[in-house]
C-alpha cells in the first residue's frame, strides 16, 4: 500500500453514531431495491441503453446535471474555492451555462433527429468508421478508468473522513453499482442519479445556511476573508471574492489566469466540449421522450447548475473565513501531498479538499452527519454508475456492434450490455488498485480524459455546422487535436518553464494551463479539419441529410405556448446567468 495511505489510518475527521449508520445502510438498501424493481423494465436495447427514450424533461435534466455532480466534483471544487476564491465559480457559470444552452437549442436537434445511441455513433454517420473507432475506443478506455479513479477516490475519502478500510469501501460500492446498473441499465442509473441529486441538496444545503448565519451574511463573510488573508499576507486578498474584476492581469488573481483563458479556454472550448460531446452527460438527454423534452432537459440542468455554487463554492469560502484549530487560531489548509505526508499528518494538517467534510463536521451532529456522508457516497456511486453505463453503451454499439459482431441481435446486445457492465466494474476495481500503488497514474488518466474532449468538440461542431467537412478531415483533425494536446501536457511536464509559452504566463497554475492547452488543441483540430477537408472530396447533400445544419429538417413540435417553449426558458436562464456575473463582478 502507498505509505501515505498507511498514515491516513491514524486519524479521522468525523465519527459516526448508530443513527448515521442507519441512514447510510438505508441508502444502500434503497438503491438495490430500485435496481431489482427496474430489472423487468430493461429487456430491449432501447430500454437498457437509452432508458426506453421515455424520460420527461425534468428527469433527463436532473440526471444530466447529476451525472456531473459527483463527490469528486463537490469536494474538489469546494477545495478549489478555498484555494482560488470565488474564481472557482466560473466552472459552474461561464464554464457550464452557455454550453448547456448551446447543447439544448443548437446541437440537440441533430443528436435527436439522427437517433444515434452515442456521440461516437454520430461521428460514424457523419465522418465514417475511422473517426467512430478512434473516439469510441478512447472514450471507452477513459470512461472505465475514470470509474476506477472515482472508486479509489471514494475509498480514500471514506478512509480520511471515517477511517473505513479501503478494500471494504471499494468492494461494497462496486458490487452495489454492478448490481443496480446490470439489472436496470441506464434507467436504473438515471433513477439513482435523480435520487442522488436530492440527497446532495438535503445533505449539503445546511452548511452554507448555517455558515452565513455564523459569518454574519455575505458582507460579514467578505470582511472575514479579507481580514484572514491580509493576516496571512496573501497577495491581493480582495480577489478571493470577485469573479471578473481581477482577471485583467495574470498576477492579480490567485489562479494566475486572465479573462481570455476563462472566456475562450474554459467557456468556449472545455465547457462546450464537455457538456455537448461527452457521452456520459449527453446520454442522459438522449433518453428524453421527445425533442422538446430533450431541448428542455439541458435548460433545466443549467438552471440548477447555476445554484450549485451555493453548496460547493460557498462552503469553501466559509472555510477560508471561519475554520479555526483547537486553540482558536486560523486553520490553514494546505495542498494534499503536504497534508498527507508523514510530516503533515504529524502536524495535523488538512488538505484543501477536506474543507467540505470539515464544514460538515462543524455544523452537523448525529443524523445530519449521516445524511451528509450519504450524499457524498451517493455522489461517488452515481459517478461510477454514470461512467459504467456510458462505457457499456459505447462498447456494445460502437465497438462490439460496429467492429466485432455487426450482426448482433437486439437481445444479444442487451446480454452483452449486462456482462460489460459487470466487466467494466471489474476493470474499474483493477484501476482503483493500480492507482492506489501509483498515484501519478491518476493525474495522467485525468489529463488524458481532458485531452480528448476539446478536440472532439472541434470535430463534432464542424461536422454539424459545416457541410464541407469531409471524412478524412474529421479523422485527421480529431487525431491531430488529441496528439497535440498530449504533446503539450508532456512538454510542460518535462520542461516546467515552457508554461510561459503554453499558458502565456509563468504564473499560470494547473487550472490555467488546462484552459490554454484545451484552447490550442481545439484550434489545431479545427485548422487541420478545415485544411484536409478542403483538399478532399465532400459528401453529397443527400448523404448529409439529418446530420448537418441546413440539411436537416427539424421535426415540427406540438404547439406549445410561448412560456412552454425551450427558447423562452433558455432566455430566462441566460438573463439569470448575466445578472449573477454582474452581482459578483
Amino acid at each position: 500500500m502507498n505509505p501515505a495511505l498507511l498514515v491516513l489510518s491514524s486519524s479521522t475527521l468525523v465519527h459516526l453514531s448508530p443513527v448515521d449508520l442507519v441512514i447510510i445502510v438505508f441508502y444502500f438498501a434503497l438503491v438495490l431495491a430500485i435496481g431489482l424493481y427496474l430489472k423487468g423494465q430493461a429487456n430491449t436495447g432501447e430500454d437498457f441503453f437509452m432508458a426506453g427514450r421515455e424520460m420527461t424533461a425534468w428527469v433527463a435534466g436532473l440526471a444530466f446535471l447529476s451525472a456531473n455532480l459527483g463527490s469528486l466534483e463537490l469536494m474538489g471544487w469546494a477545495g478549489n474555492s478555498y484555494k482560488y476564491g470565488i474564481l472557482a465559480a466560473h466552472w459552474y457559470w461561464i464554464g457550464a451555462i452557455p454550453a448547456m444552452l448551446f447543447l439544448a437549442l443548437i446541437m440537440m436537434p441533430f443528436y435527436y433527429v439522427c437517433k444515434t445511441h452515442s456521440v461516437p455513433g454520430y461521428l460514424k454517420l457523419r465522418f465514417g468508421q475511422d473517426s467512430q473507432a478512434l473516439s469510441s475506443i478512447s472514450f471507452a478506455l477513459m470512461t472505465v478508468l475514470m470509474s476506477g479513479i472515482n472508486m479509489y477516490a471514494m475509498a480514500v475519502v471514506m478512509k480520511v473522513v471515517l477511517g473505513w478500510d479501503l478494500n471494504f469501501s471499494i468492494i461494497v460500492s462496486s458490487v452495489t453499482v454492478a448490481i443496480y446498473v446490470a439489472l436496470g441499465g441506464l434507467r436504473s442509473a438515471i433513477f439513482n442519479e435523480v435520487l442522488q441529486f436530492f440527497l446532495i441538496w438535503a445533505g449539503a444545503l445546511l452548511i452554507p445556511i448555517l455558515g452565513l448565519i455564523e459569518a454574519g451574511g455575505w458582507d460579514g463573510l467578505k470582511a472575514k476573508i479579507l481580514h484572514n488573508l491580509t493576516e496571512q499576507h496573501a497577495a491581493n486578498p480582495g480577489a478571493y471574492t470577485h469573479l471578473w474584476s481581477t482577471l485583467g492581469n495574470f498576477s492579480d488573481n490567485p489562479m494566475g489566469i486572465n479573462w481570455a483563458g476563462i472566456v475562450f479556454g474554459l467557456g468556449a472550448v472545455i465547457a462546450m466540449g464537455y457538456w455537448t460531446t461527452d457521452f456520459l452527460v449527453v446520454q442522459r438527454v438522449l433518453s428524453a421522450k421527445d425533442l422538446r423534452s430533450a431541448e428542455l432537459a439541458p435548460i433545466i440542468g443549467a438552471a440548477f447548475k447555476m445554484m450549485v455554487p451555493f453548496i460547493v463554492i460557498l462552503p469553501g469560502l466559509l472555510g477560508l473565513a471561519l475554520l479555526r484549530d483547537g486553540s482558536g487560531n486560523l486553520l490553514r489548509l494546505v495542498p494534499a501531498d503536504l497534508a498527507w505526508s508523514p510530516a503533515g499528518q504529524a502536524q495535523g494538517l488538512h488538505g484543501y479538499d477536506e474543507v467540505l467534510p470539515l464544514m460538515l463536521a462543524r455544523y452537523c451532529g448525529p443524523g445530519l452527519l449521516g445524511l451528509g456522508i450519504t450524499a457524498l457516497i451517493a455522489g461517488f456511486m452515481s459517478g461510477m454508475a454514470g461512467n459504467v453505463s456510458a462505457f457499456s453503451t459505447v462498447w456494445t454499439y460502437d465497438i462490439y456492434g460496429a467492429l466485432i459482431n455487426k450482426n448482433a441481435t437486439d437481445e444479444g446486445k442487451v446480454r452483452m450490455g449486462r456482462w460489460v457492465t459487470v466487466i467494466g466494474v471489474g476493470i474499474s476495481i483493477g484501476t482503483a488498485y493500480l492507482v492506489m500503488h501509483a498515484q501519478s497514474i491518476m493525474d495522467y488518466v485525468q489529463a488524458l480524459f481532458s485531452f480528448f474532449i476539446a478536440p472532439l468538440f472541434g470535430t463534432v461542431i464542424l461536422g454539424m455546422l459545416w457541410k464541407r467537412a469531409t471524412k478524412a478531415g474529421g479523422f485527421w483533425g480529431l487525431l491531430a487535436g488529441t496528439v497535440s494536446s498530449v504533446g503539450m501536457y508532456f512538454w510542460v511536464k518535462f520542461d516546467p518553464s515552457s508554461v510561459r509559452y503554453l499558458a502565456l504566463s509563468d504564473k499560470a497554475q494547473d487550472q490555467a494551463q488546462n484552459m490554454f492547452r484545451a484552447l490550442w488543441c481545439w484550434l489545431i483540430c479545427v485548422i487541420v479539419t478545415v485544411v484536409v477537408s478542403l483538399m478532399t472530396k465532400p459528401k453529397s447533400d443527400e448523404e448529409l441529410k439529418d446530420l448537418v445544419y441546413g440539411l436537416s429538417p427539424i421535426p415540427k413540435q406540438e404547439h406549445v405556448r410561448w412560456f412552454q417553449s425551450p427558447i423562452f426558458w433558455g432566455a430566462v436562464v441566460a438573463v439569470a446567468f448575466i445578472v449573477l456575473q454582474i452581482i459578483f463582478w
Partner: protein
Amino acid sequence: MKSGGSLSIWFFIGVSLAVNGAIIFARGIYELVYPPEHQVVLYQLHANVWWGAVLLILGLFFSLRFSPARERARMAGKS
C-alpha cells in the same frame, strides 16, 4: 417519469426524504431532551429539528402525491 410499472421515481425520492427526515427529526428531539456533551457549532439553532421536519414534510408530500395507488388510478383514468 414512469418506470413502466406503477412506481414513479418521485415516489422513491419521497420515501428517501421522509425516512431520513424522520430519523433526523427524532434525533433532534432526543437532543433537546438530553443535550449532547460535545455540541456542534450553532447547536443552539437545533438544525436537526427543523431540517429534519422540512425533509419529512417534503418526503411525505412526494410519497403521497406519487403513491402507487394514486399512480394506478391516474393511469386507469388515462386508458
